[in-house]
Subunit: 129 residues, 2 copies
DNA sequence: TATAGTGTTATATATAACCATAACACCGGA
DNA sequence: TCCGGTGTTATGGTTATATATAACACTATA
């Protein structure tokens, strides 16, 4: 498992878990992998894992049940999707638009790159398209 | 001047200086603002400023001339544009495409948001469009 | 009750980032 | 030579992140 050096591991893990939730791999009410499972599987410290989960607790997406594990709250998936969508539209996208403007990339170049990316995804994940 | 807590200040500053170079505000051979000017203007430590400049030195975009200042190398702008373009197409864009897929945003939603962003930019920067 | 699994807390350490402050070394112009 | 400006180095301190290790506290099951 590679972690980007540009961002804290706990943040990347929180994003990864978020992606799984949004993709429906875990649903409201489901239990998530334990702190020790993730720590062992990804070979990172359990406190780092706890920290990642804590960010989702703070968003009221999941809850920690001592002795039992981490559970997705009812309505948690909806809260997460709303939060991520808002972040994307209000923070990520403006930055991307700015970068495209500064780089003076043509629409053609971008569409070609997107299609290239999507064809690679199509190849590796049959259900993506 | 606000710095995002998600990324090191020196990285954000290096990006900011990069943007100015790519936008042609400073050209090959030009001198850039001194470490002390930036430190004072943005109210950050001069070592942090030096670190930002060092990342551009490492990319061979600029050179440090002791006692004189920071100069953009001949060809520096081209190197920078190439590097940023590659990064965008190979790293940023795939991540964006992935996010859009997970968020299941419609093209309509995205185009609307982009137009909103661009109309705001058009309003504040007359020459952007 | 014992066991296995859960999350939490404690302790100590290392690294990266950032700071304030000071001073050294270099450069160009008066 | 002096002065003002330049980048660089040194010192000491704080905070955030991440780690290893250990143990506590809780839960469910046999």
């Amino acid at each position: 498992m590679q972690w980007s050096p540009d961002s804290a591991i706990y943040k990347q893990l929180a994003d990864k878990i978020s992606d799984y939730i949004m993709q429906g791999i875990y649903k409201d009410g489901d239990i998530l992998p334990s702190v020790r499972q993730i720590s062992s599987e990804y070979e990172i410290n359990h406190i780092t894992v706890s920290k990642a989960y804590q960010t989702l607790v703070d968003l009221e997406v999941i809850e920690m049940k001592r002795g039992r594990g981490m559970y997705i709250l009812e309505g948690g998936t909806g809260i997460l999707k709303q939060y991520k969508k808002t972040q994307f539209l209000e923070i990520t996208l403006p930055d991307i638009v700015k970068q495209m403007s500064i780089l003076k990339l043509s629409e053609q170049e971008i569409m070609t790159a997107i299609q290239d990316i999507q064809s690679k995804n199509h190849h590796s994940n049959k259900e993506t398209l």
